[in-house]
Homo-oligomer: 331 residues x 2
Amino acid sequence: MKRSQIALAIACALSAPLFAAAPAADEPIEVIRPPQNINLGMVELGKKLYFDPRLSKSGFISCNSCHNLSMGGTDNIPTSIGDKWQQGPINAPTVLNSSLNVAQFWDGRAADLKAQAGGPIANPGEMGFTHTLAVNVLESIPGYVREFAQVFGSGKIDIEQVTSAIAEFEKTLVTPNSRFDQWLLGKADALTAQEQVGYQLFKSSGCVACHNGAAVGGNSFQKMGVVEPYKATSPAEGRSAVTGQDIDRFSFKVPTLRNVEMTYPYFHDGAANTLTEAVDIMGRLQLGRTFNAEENASIVAFLKTLTGDQPSFTLPILAPSSDSTPRPKPF
Amino acid sequence: MKRSQIALAIACALSAPLFAAAPAADEPIEVIRPPQNINLGMVELGKKLYFDPRLSKSGFISCNSCHNLSMGGTDNIPTSIGDKWQQGPINAPTVLNSSLNVAQFWDGRAADLKAQAGGPIANPGEMGFTHTLAVNVLESIPGYVREFAQVFGSGKIDIEQVTSAIAEFEKTLVTPNSRFDQWLLGKADALTAQEQVGYQLFKSSGCVACHNGAAVGGNSFQKMGVVEPYKATSPAEGRSAVTGQDIDRFSFKVPTLRNVEMTYPYFHDGAANTLTEAVDIMGRLQLGRTFNAEENASIVAFLKTLTGDQPSFTLPILAPSSDSTPRPKPF
């Protein structure tokens, strides 16, 4: 770097606070960005599949039933309702910003969104169907046959195409433009004083050690109950089910805190109803720190600034079944 | 009318066939028209309520669960799934164009959409909630409190407001611009030859006696099984449950045939899976007429021209619950 460039760089650095739009590059939480390299035809097809309950045995449950895009990409109940009202074993994680996760499901057993999308369809406790039957249904619906051919250029529908399209739609479910992101991008008054205090506490007390990056989480597995054990209401043992290693017992994917105001109840068992409760438990169990009421309220206030623009799209209209479409079995 | 006006009127009448856009005023089926006199604020609020499963005990079932606007305003299963997967007693009628119905429900027990909207919320076999609990939930959600105040100018939410808003949204669920309507409005090539043959058969064989008007039905109650008795799979007895009159046994509201391609399965018990089957049964039981395969196919082809523009709107985003919101009871 030449001397004149160095001088310019220093001048810019010193004057940075004057530039309202200068990004805060040194923060452990990054601005979340709209998706790129999206296959639009695949997205539109995936959106239909995401909303189509004909991918379930009953004809009643779609992806959107438990990952409801009207409600933060989740179902807002502790554990989900599956085929014949079976009680699910674990809290439905939000689909919002899930493309940023290191892996999918609480235990990370699916490498990516495509691998995840096939899971619930064939899970007897969730949509209760099989991949073969789901594809049979789609192949009997002329509207889908045309759209799959258009998108994939093949005359035959397969489950790989189905999960690819759903995953491509899910990649679009990113929530930019939260007040926190506006602040990161230099809009100093986007956060109140209390929210800024909450963010400083979030960093100084150690929350940020796990909840960092663009999704404020989602990028590592951590033990639930580090300082004190967590008394779970669910038998889920987490990552050890995937690795077979005892050291991974009760290790779960760190959930994203983006839109956390909307994704209650909290934790893998959905046992915490409110952010106040979740922050208190996390502080004590993970950090050995009891936040007083004011500190807790500040952190909660900060967390609520992470609510971004929710995905906005027209409700898809699904092509009708044909006479040859196998009928659902709801009862 | 002056002589010159009469001459003009005659000239116009004689030359009508030359005007492709002249409406076919003498047809028993009328063009369906977009809704008028709509309160837009109430519609937007009602749309949110329509999609909000927090109006159910479980937090899982919304109006849209059984009257799914991605699927012709119905659930495409014979009878609906209610709280704890209870099997409903009757097929969910489409919500599309339901503002045109003479009354609501198959037995007409609700006078209008507003009276209907409160039914499923408090029905133990459907959403399983109570009006009081539903209002309590809404009153605990700041986003709703603000929107109800804005729309109704009152500081307090009540069930009348809730059902009024849902009904106002439902009034917008009209499906204009079907190919049949385009034909009615003078676009002669909007229907194929087979579809026109089907329509003529629909009229000449008597279907149109009950399925007429803008909704092609919905405007009268008729006995199911006039010439031959209908062997129902459901115990529903229809209109007699409302009137107490034995003569009304097995009398049901004539369903609209608008979008009938999308609203399978058919009849109050959802026993007919296909239009072919439904047309055959209706012909024999109501009209004493057995349509041959070609006649049946023509009528079915005509019926499929009644699919109109489906309601197009952005999926609503629901305001999150607050710490004081009573939590749903899914299990």
